[in-house]
């Protein structure tokens, strides 16, 4: 049960991280994993195996959309951007996580740890 909860938390937080990143600008898979790792100081790491199934799942849900474009190096990459449905989803998702962290903070003093 604990493992399942941990897995769900990891998945939920990863979805939020991807959606929040794509809200700023369209990115392709490698850039997404790199930026998440950099911005979280290595706390959240995506491997190829964990990133792409999630991207495809978000795409299937209609929250993100992918299209092939050349990157700065002239190589074709599949850029993902947030769809209107994804933008609509992001705000309540952020609120939910805010409430979750606040609750954890009240309970366990997470922010002082």
């Amino acid at each position: 049960m604990t493992k399942r909860i941990r897995s769900k938390i990891a998945r939920g937080s990863a979805e939020l991280a991807i959606l929040a990143l794509l809200a700023d600008q369209p990115l392709y898979g490698f850039e997404i994993s790199k930026q998440i790792e950099e911005k979280t100081g290595g706390a959240l790491c995506f491997t190829l195996a964990s990133l792409y199934p999630m991207l495809y799942d978000l795409e299937k849900r209609g929250w993100i959309a992918g299209r092939w474009e050349a990157n700065q190096a002239g190589r074709d990459r599949r850029y993902y951007c947030l769809t209107p449905a994804g933008k609509k989803e992001l705000a309540p998702l952020r609120r939910e996580w805010n409430v979750f962290f606040h609750a954890l903070d009240c309970l366990a003093g997470v922010s002082n740890a």
Binding site: A10, G29, A43, T47, A49, S50, P53, K60, R78
Partner: protein, 231 residues
């Protein structure tokens, strides 16, 4: 679609990402995208000062288990009704086909046992009789295992896998419900009272369901690849 990237990585992904049952265009797109990711990772390792062989090794180690990845991608990509025409959709491959195989195997094994002249053991308890056909029950774990394996192989989730392996008992239950309903409507409910229902549930649902489930157990749980959270 991409027009250029290292063919090496494309071939590597194509060779390892198996089985990926998606329409050809989607499959190519996934392979191209993953190959592009590996190419970027390789370039990054080179920039970090690794030798070509070290960088290549690092990239190859990026994915340890390709089969679960292929299954996860298939599950994530799949949309009902978007598979190639003439090909079975995922629900058919993950649930109906394994379930029917399990049902067929269970019925064939029961027929074989009866044709061999093996008589069921009959036990009486509290004015009710119940039967055990040990030979048939002994064959059922194999039926459950085959169904679970077929379902898992097609990328089925835990519940789909479970449902396909328990398909025979669900079919028995559905048949009984139809008979029970028919008997009730026709006014012969005395013959199918609560005791008949309990006996039926014991003989045709619980007893065969247990070995079916036991056979399916090794296939029910599979490692999920979720993002790594490190502290």
């Amino acid at each position: 679609m991409p027009d250029r990237f290292t063919n090496d990585w494309t071939n590597l992904v194509r060779e390892h990402l198996h089985p990926l049952r998606l329409p050809a265009s989607q499959q190519q797109e996934v392979i191209a995208e993953l190959a592009a990711h590996l190419e970027d990772l390789y370039d990054q390792q080179i920039q970090h000062g690794l030798s070509e062989s070290e960088a290549r090794e690092r990239v190859i180690n990026e994915v340890i288990q390709w089969r679960p990845l292929a299954q996860d991608i298939q599950r994530s990509k799949f949309k009902e009704g978007t598979m190639n025409q003439g090909r079975m959709n995922a629900r058919t491959k993950q649930l109906w086909l394994p379930g029917l195989v399990s049902l067929l195997a269970a019925m064939l094994s029961l027929t074989a046992v009866l044709l061999l002249g093996v008589q069921p053991h009959i036990y009486y308890a509290h004015q009710a009789a119940t039967t055990f056909n040990f030979q048939w029950l002994a064959a059922l774990p194999l039926c459950g295992a085959v169904a679970a394996w077929l379902s898992r192989r097609a990328g089925g989730g835990l519940l789909t896998c479970l449902a396909s392996s328990l398909f025979p008992v669900m079919a028995f239950l559905a048949c009984f419900c139809i008979i029970f309903l028919g008997a009730t409507i026709l006014g012969s409910e005395r013959a199918l009272g609560p005791s008949a229902f309990v006996l039926f549930m014991w003989n045709w649902v619980f007893l065969p369901g247990t070995p079916l489930l036991l056979g399916a157990l090794p296939f029910l749980f599979r490692r999920n690849q979720s993002p790594q959270v490190t502290s």
